[in-house]
């Protein structure tokens, strides 16, 4: 396999691929049909992004189906299990807000990622709006939905610091400014939803380490096994 670590298309492609797979796990399990379609649409948008990005880094199928866990460069946030619906929405809110800001920036650069970023930013704006709308309704909804939404936001908080660690090949991205915009937007949504902004460490010794360096959390291996099983069992199979 080609050495694909040099291009930033790999970590960003892995983010899209892994989150797409997680969202796909809702198929057949979503609380209502309309929401199942919405989540599947978002998953397919992300899969489209992943295909373009991974193709910039090498052979998309090889990269998706034949790498080992340690070779994936995705954020630990996106590999976190779906949990309840509130967990999925919290993960979406944190990630799509980040992705929108990053793609907005990349679209204005000379980077090889600029064309993809310019196209994807419209999709991602919708993903962020979807998560924003649900956060408002769960946070300011019933007692039960409010407790669950807050629990989910708190639980995933420790994975959010990693998003703003510099990425190899993306040295020109103004990460601290990106972080401040992210924090402002998240604060705005959570205040509107009458939720509390989580406090607690987001990086450093108490955080979960970094997926960007190939270190992943416990459930990632199982997810990968399911994602890669068919391709590994039937190498080169076609429809």
């Amino acid at each position: 396999m080609r050495n694909a670590t040099a291009t930033p298309a790999l970590p960003l492609g892995d983010d899209a691929l892994i989150l797409s797979h997680r969202l796909g796990e809702w198929a057949g399990n979503a609380p209502v049909l309309e929401e199942e379609v919405a989540l599947a649409n978002i998953a397919l948008d992300l899969l489209g992004q992943a295909r373009v990005l991974l193709s910039l880094a090498g052979d998309e199928d090889e990269l998706a189906y034949l790498r080992e866990e340690r070779q994936f460069r995705n954020l630990q946030l996106v590999e976190q299990p779906n949990g309840d619906f509130a967990h999925t929405i919290a993960r979406q809110l944190y990630f799509s807000t980040y992705q929108e800001l990053l793609f907005e920036h990349l679209a204005t650069t000379e980077s090889e990622l600029a064309p993809l970023a310019a196209k994807a930013v419209k999709e991602v704006a919708y993903h962020r709006d979807h998560a924003h709308q649900w956060t408002l309704r769960l946070g300011d909804g019933t007692d039960e939905s409010r407790v669950r939404m807050q629990r989910a936001l708190d639980a995933l908080w420790r994975f959010t610091g990693e998003m703003f660690e510099p990425v190899e090949g993306l040295e020109t991205v103004p990460w601290p400014a990106l972080h401040d915009s992210w924090a402002t937007r998240i604060t705005h949504t959570l205040e509107q939803a009458t939720l509390t902004i989580p406090d607690g460490p987001r990086r450093g010794g108490w955080t979960a380490g970094t997926g960007r360096q190939g270190l992943h959390t416990e459930s990632f291996g199982r997810m990968l096994a399911e994602m890669q099983h068919l391709h590994r069992s039937h190498p080169g199979a076609t429809w």
Binding site: V32, E34, E35, A38, N41, Y126, Q133, R137, T142
Partner: protein
């Protein structure tokens, strides 16, 4: 479908929290392109109007079917009754002179 007895209905209503199935129904209208009117495309469930609009986007416009969407609470629609069909519609059936078929349509006029 069986009709629950009144006692059962009351007990069920008291015990059950709102479920997705309780979401109201919305009718979706899609304008396929500028200059055309919105056309009924189908219906969906949603907790409120804003979410209905988003669900409509996901269910009915994924393949570039539209440039504008309306959602209307189904409960707000007053429909003619099938029982009144004859009184409402049949008298028009044998009056072809009401149709504008005796005019030449100028070239280049569409959507008439």
């Amino acid at each position: 479908m069986t009709t629950p007895r009144p006692a059962e209905t009351a007990a069920t209503a008291a015990a059950a929290a709102p479920r997705p199935g309780d979401w109201p129904l919305w009718e979706v209208f899609v304008r396929s392109r500028r200059g055309l009117s919105h056309t009924h495309a189908g219906s969906l469930h949603a907790p409120d109007a804003e979410m209905a609009l988003r669900n409509a986007r996901d269910l009915y416009t994924r393949r570039s079917e539209g440039v504008s969407l309306w959602v209307v609470p189904s409960a707000q629609i007053t429909a003619s009754s099938p029982d009144e069909k004859d009184a409402f519609f049949e008298p028009a059936g044998d009056k072809p002179y009401r149709h504008p078929t005796f005019y030449e349509i100028p070239d280049g006029v569409h959507h008439l």
